[in-house]
Amino acid sequence: MIPAKFDYVRPSSVGDAVSALAGGGEDAKVIAGGQSLLPLLRLRLAYPELLVDIGGLDELCGVTDDGDHLLIGARTTHYQLVHDPLITEHCGLLAQAAGTVADPAVRHRGTLGGSIAHADPAGDLPAVVLALDATMIATGPAGGREIPAGEFFVDYLTTALAPGEILTGIRVPKLGADWGYRYEKFHRTAQAWAIVGVAALVRRSDGHVAEARVGLTNMGSVPIRAAAVETAAAGAQASPEALREAAAGADEGTQPPADLHGAPDYRRHLARVLTGRALEAAAGV
């Protein structure tokens, strides 16, 4: 719980932050809410030489209506996601999932951008932005670029962000009123990480599922879309039986980890059960 030495800067603009980060090279890390990075520092599992604190960059906070999208600043906290009316109206899944993150203290400090850039497959929000087909906005020395969520999560704690790039915003398509959603999180204690989490979105039409999107938390080294479920659910009847059947393929193509809280076969089983439950809730049946 005693971190090694590091240098610390707190820039006052995104440009300065990018310069500082680029100047620090591979040994520099961005810190926002600190809810993931600080524990790693204190356990001496990470030894960055420079921390670039973006905590002073207020332009990275908050949610704006951008037509058919919402633009969410990377520093927007979980607490703000839970309580923001635009989020609640247009992508309630994100608010619901953010409300399950750890405890109130963490939700007040931790940020959406931090959670996504940290890319912990056990984190709740990566699977959610994946299911939402969100787009990550990165700012680097060469300017800005957009990365689709499907290409953003590369490996365990590894993203498509280049050295010197900062995740500054997340663009989320607005979902119409015909979409239902559910984040089904399974964990042993309220503060614990998900053993498995399922983020489900369902668009209903005439008693059927017109479209389903399912993101899985902690079923591999990155958040995963349950493609087999999405295919099976599309066009299926919006009934518990049909949705449970569609959920039977939830663990296809996954490589769940083994740890104290669950062996891979148990996680596969949970993914199937929870996906069924999440689809039912999202479909309102």
Binding site: M1, A4, L43, R188, T189, A190, L260, H261, Y266
Partner: protein, 801 residues
């Protein structure tokens, strides 16, 4: 000065807000880690990464050149002075107590054992420099499973072998009880290893001035620690002062003489500067002594009507790598509790203490009694299922009836008081036992995916440690008395000194309430002093739910002495005979002449002035008293738990929890409620969440609170708690309460889980009952008949004769 004080109303039983809390809630607490002394240096320990290895070389020279580093030492540097950490409880004459150097010299025997230390100007520099120390290890095979550790081919933890002791107890004709019994059940239960997680981690500050040392430590036992530093490490007792400042919880984990305390004292002496060490949570998980870790084989013989004939218990207890302060005695505190509230003809108990290459185990909330209570309450449910008798009915057929108290159990303990009927009746009603049973039947008939289970725990325990003669008969190294002192100040205020060193219990409040009633002074006028051997030189400290049941009675005795002396002085002031005075609500008055009276405050001032004291009376109104109990304290109660078990995922949700405790007369209901709530939470934690896990190489896996899951309020139900009051046979009528909730709740929860799943063929779930384990238990039972199946091959014989 004329003292006019309104006669106070009785304090006993009042839900006083705690005197301690304003300070705690506003951040004015004096934790050991808050102490800053001029010139103070910081310690960081290098710890073994091996479960078992020879140390072939330690080179600390690399650390010496690092920034801020003042000194660095290895175990060899302390070889001449560090001696061995004490074990105060040699339970048998032939017990093996291996040497336990505070810092390893030749060999390490668990991951986390200290092998070197850096002394630096700040804790960051100290932590950084650890990487510059070179240690060469020759790995040795670890010993990780005590069930095979006694096999002839097993690697050895110590040269003398892996067995520390075997302790036996028997009463009645056990063979006869079992030989032709209509029903015999045998089960094996696992008490997993637990890691105490006090809110405040351990911390130590040691300061030498000349030949005197002051040790501040986050300890439960300043008095025992002072004695140990002197008796075992050669520092003259009069030169040792131990201070336990505000201490943030212990649960037994701070009932210890630790390596870090001893080393801080030795290092402080070596370098002539004050030194501090404060553990990180990871360091704590590795090296605070662990709790439980037993394999329990329990066998019960009964008549067809459920009456118990006999009980036989065979324990394997994991000592860990060394015997610490009371390591070997912990299972023995449970030895007398397996028969619990039940009558039987015969009982036998055997415990084998076994070494492993893990952190030593020692006292943890309940210490021995939770293990015993778990095993008996679990097998009572199994017996009920086997015989088809309602489990509460089975218990009632066997328990000691109210009119039978005092009752001497098969273990030879005399339970002074109890009313199991009253507590159970109350719990049953609050819980809506019959309603829940009806719902359970309905859900079972429907084949619901979420099943309902009802768990019962009708428990008692022995606490209020302890009659000194009993401790002596069990070979414990000290007594079980407690000390108290009263100092009436000239202005009529009162200082109370207690040897019972509080670390979160609320002594300052409860002791004030007791003294307020005894002396008739206002609650606010009393200040309670504790936790510093210079302020409170005598005491046996706080553990084993002993503070009130032992220390509280010392307090009453000290108050008696003050009143007796004050009466003599009041008599002189009133020109009456002491025999004619009565004392009530703080006032001495002449019988038949209520106008002629003096308050105890007036007496205190007159005693201070000493102008007209009677012949031979000294000018002070103080007293000292020591109380040695003649029996243990036996709180009891009935806890009922309803769980909803999701058979698809294995998740257990506690739907309702009712606790009816009988802790005798209650001094402060708020404090009792707090103890019960916290206790239940800690017991539920064992049932569902917590387990210290070592991997196959002997590395602790649960080094953080992300892996070692401690439940929070968000995970726990809203308990319904009530009390029955059956006064204990001491002057206050009080019993201990600190451990009762923990002892009661673990079996209530596990019984509820098994009760929910018994229709699916499940007969046991190993603790902690994680969702994965519950799910696997259901999978394993799948397809098997629902009734009468042995649990994992542990049943020896069963069924009706």
């Amino acid at each position: 000065m004329t003292a006019t004080v309104d006669a106070p109303t009785a304090e006993l039983g009042k839900a006083r807000l705690r005197k301690e809390d304003a300070k705690l809630l506003t951040g004015q607490t004096n934790w050991t880690d808050n102490i800053k002394l001029t010139g103070m240096l910081h310690l960081a320990f290098l710890r073994s990464p091996y479960a078992h290895a020879k140390i072939t070389r330690v080179d600390v020279s690399g650390a010496l050149g690092q920034p801020g580093v003042i000194a660095a030492f290895s175990g060899a540097d302390f070889a001449a002075e560090q001696g061995s950490l004490p074990c105060a409880w040699p339970v048998t004459p032939d017990i093996v107590i291996p040497p336990h150097p505070p810092m390893a010299v030749d060999e390490v025997r668990y991951v986390g054992e200290a092998v070197a230390v850096v002394v630096a100007r700040d804790r960051y520099a100290a932590a950084d420099a650890l990487a510059s120390i070179d240690v060469d290890y020759e790995p040795l095979p670890p010993v990780l499973d005590i069930r095979t550790a006694l096999d002839p081919g097993s690697p050895k933890v110590h040269e003398a072998g892996n067995k520390s002791y075997e302790w036996v107890f028997a009463n009645g004709d056990v063979d006869a009880a079992f030989s032709d019994a209509p029903v015999v059940l045998e089960r094996t239960y696992r008490q997993q290893r637990l890691i105490p997680c006090a809110m405040e981690p351990r911390a130590v500050v040691a300061q030498w001035v000349g030949d005197e040392v002051t040790l501040w430590s986050a300890t439960q036992i300043p008095h025992v620690l002072r004695f140990a530093l002197s008796a075992f490490f050669g520092i003259p007792e009069q030169n040792v002062r131990v201070i336990a400042p505000d201490v943030g919880g212990g649960f037994g984990s701070k009932l210890q003489v630790t390596a870090e305390e001893v080393l801080a004292v030795l290092i402080g002496r070596k370098i002539g500067k004050p030194v501090k060490w404060a553990e990180t949570r990871t360091e704590g998980n590795l090296t605070v002594h662990h709790g439980r870790d037993q394999w329990q084989q329990i066998k019960i013989a009964a008549e067809a009507d459920g009456r118990i004939r006999g009980l036989s218990v065979d324990l394997l207890a994991d000592m860990g790598a060394y015997l610490m302060l009371v390591t070997p005695g912990v299972p023995l505190l449970g030895a007398f509790m397996f028969p619990a509230i039940y009558k039987m003809d015969a009982y036998s108990f055997k415990c084998t203490g076994v070494f492993s290459t893990k952190m030593p185990t020692d006292a943890y909330r309940g210490a021995g009694r939770p293990e015993a209570t778990f095993a008996i309450e679990r097998i009572m449910d199994e017996l009920a299922a086997e015989l088809g008798i309602e489990p509460l009915e089975l218990r009632e057929r066997n328990w000691i009836k109210h009119e039978e108290f005092p009752y001497t159990t098969i273990c030879g303990l005399t339970y002074d008081s109890g009313n199991y009927e009253a507590a159970t009746a109350k719990a049953r009603e609050l819980f809506d036992y019959d309603g829940l049973r009806a719902e359970q039947r309905l859900r079972n008939e429907r084949g619901d995916k979420v099943r309902l289970g009802i768990g019962i725990s009708t428990f008692t325990e022995m606490c209020g440690l302890a009659p000194s003669r009993v401790l002596g008969s069990l070979s414990y190294g000290a007594g079980g008395w407690e000390h108290a002192a009263i100092r009436m100040l000239p202005t009529g205020k009162v200082e109370v000194v207690t040897g019972s060193s509080a670390h979160g219990q609320g002594h300052e409040t409860a002791w004030s309430q007791i003294v307020a009633d005894q002396l008739g002074v206002p609650f606010e006028d009393i200040r309670v002093l504790h936790g510093d051997t210079q302020v409170s030189p005598k005491g046996m400290d706080t553990y084993g739910s002993r503070s009130l049941a032992v220390g509280g009675l010392a307090l009453v005795s000290a108050c008696d002495k003050v009143v007796a002396k004050a009466k003599i002085i009041a008599a002189a002031m009133l020109e009456a005979s002491a025999d004619d005075l009565e004392f009530s609500a703080g006032r001495f008055s002449v019988r038949g002449d209520p106008e002629a009276s003096k308050t105890i405050q007036e007496v205190a001032l007159a005693t201070f002035a000493a102008h007209a004291l009677p012949e031979g009376v000294e000018p002070s109104l103080d007293s000292d008293a020591t109380y040695d109990p003649d029996n243990f304290s036996f709180p009891h109660g009935t806890h009922l738990c309803a769980t909803e078990v999701d058979t698809e995922t294995g998740f257990v949700h506690i739907r309702s929890y009712v606790a009816v405790d009988d802790v005798g007369v209650v001094v402060n209901p708020l404090i009792v409620e707090g103890q019960v709530h916290g206790g239940i939470a800690q017991g539920i934690a064992q049932a569902l969440y917590e387990e210290g896990v070592y991997d196959e190489a002997g590395n602790l896996v649960t080094t953080t609170l992300a892996d070692y899951l401690v439940p929070s309020a968000a995970d726990l139900p809203s308990y319904r708690t009530e009390r029955t009051t059956t006064p204990a046979s001491n002057r206050l009528g009080v019993k201990g309460v600190g451990e009762a909730g923990t002892i009661a709740s673990t079996p209530a929860v596990v019984n509820a889980i098994v009760d929910a799943l018994r229709p699916l063929g499940v007969q046991d779930v190993t603790m902690p009952c994680t969702p994965e384990r519950v799910w696997r238990a259901i999978q394993a039972a799948h397809g098997q008949p629902a009734q009468g199946q042995p649990a994992q091959g542990s049943e020896q014989s069963g069924g009706m004769a």
